[in-house]
Amino acid sequence: MIDILIVDDSAAIRKILQRVIRQADIPIGNVIEAGDGKEALEAMKTQTIGLILSDINMPNMDGIEMLGHLKANDAWKNVPVVMVSTEGSQAKVLEAVQLGAAGYVRKPFNADQIKEKLAAFF
């Protein structure tokens, strides 16, 4: 059982991802939410997160900057981060991959795309 962290400034998207994760046939513990990269890094300090689904464009700290902080931290660098974003430019996707993103799902997504991506980590 692993805990999953959802990082998105849209409460609507967090709610949808929560529902999809709960429907997926995978052993999940807690699902924790953060509204931006800063909140996510704070959550990482107090929770044992096994997988992160993160938006890219967010206020305060975007997903790319958050990814950089995660990969620079020995305790967090091996936690897989899947980017789930409207941001589909090659440059941004490449930047995320080069920083160590474990996957990318473009919005709009359907539930099967998310479940398939999640299943790869179990």
Partner: protein, 185 residues
């Protein structure tokens, strides 16, 4: 990596096609709804018919810049949010405003991504969503608005963009991002 000449221009027909594709995809994938594109309108036509309800706006910045957004009645906003979040909404609340903002973000974000192949990199602001009566939105830019009405049952949602070459591309507050358009009520 995109390496497009900055002088490339897109026609309104291209923009309409891109906006239509993005809108249909968001509605079918995230909302499980079918909408039908209507005849293209001009900005003042929308203002006259849509002075109450929900308006959601995102700023676009880069070599090309502008504004994109959606507008619809409060009733339709509740219906769309219900499909999006699998819940029922009888009035516009925070959930509805957030859902409309995210729908806007996905539609305009996908238009932006499609246009970047030809126009070069652009940034997208987070959405601003307004709900009220008797208000007008207005862009200080001189570029023309492209407004597409989509029929959704008995209601209409308007997807609109105003975008053009950015003569002040260097005046960004950070790479790829510029403050959104002025909003006048």
């Amino acid at each position: 990596m995109t390496d497009t000449p900055q002088t490339e221009i897109i026609s309104q027909a291209d923009l309409v096609a891109t906006m239509t594709t993005a809108t249909l995809e968001v509605f079918s994938t995230m909302l499980g709804m079918e909408v039908t594109a209507g005849e293209i309108l001009t900005e003042h036509t929308v203002s006259a018919t849509n002075t109450s309800g929900v308006v959601s706006i995102v700023g676009i910045a880069g070599v090309w810049s502008g504004t994109g957004g959606v507008a619809c009645s409060g009733t339709l906003a509740c219906k769309l949010s219900g499909h999006f979040l699998m819940a029922e909404y009888e009035s516009v609340n925070d959930d509805v405003l957030d859902a409309v903002g995210e729908i806007t973000n996905m539609i305009i974000g996908n238009v932006k991504t499609a246009l970047e192949d030809r126009l070069g990199p652009m940034g997208l602001s987070t959405p601003t969503v307004i709900f009220g009566r008797n208000f007008q939105t207005r862009s200080a830019r001189s570029h023309e608005w492209t407004v597409i009405p989509f029929d959704c049952g008995t209601e209409r949602i308007f997807v609109q963009m105003c975008i053009g070459p950015n003569s002040n591309a260097s005046r960004t507050v950070r790479p790829g991002f510029q403050l959104p358009e002025v909003l006048n009520f």
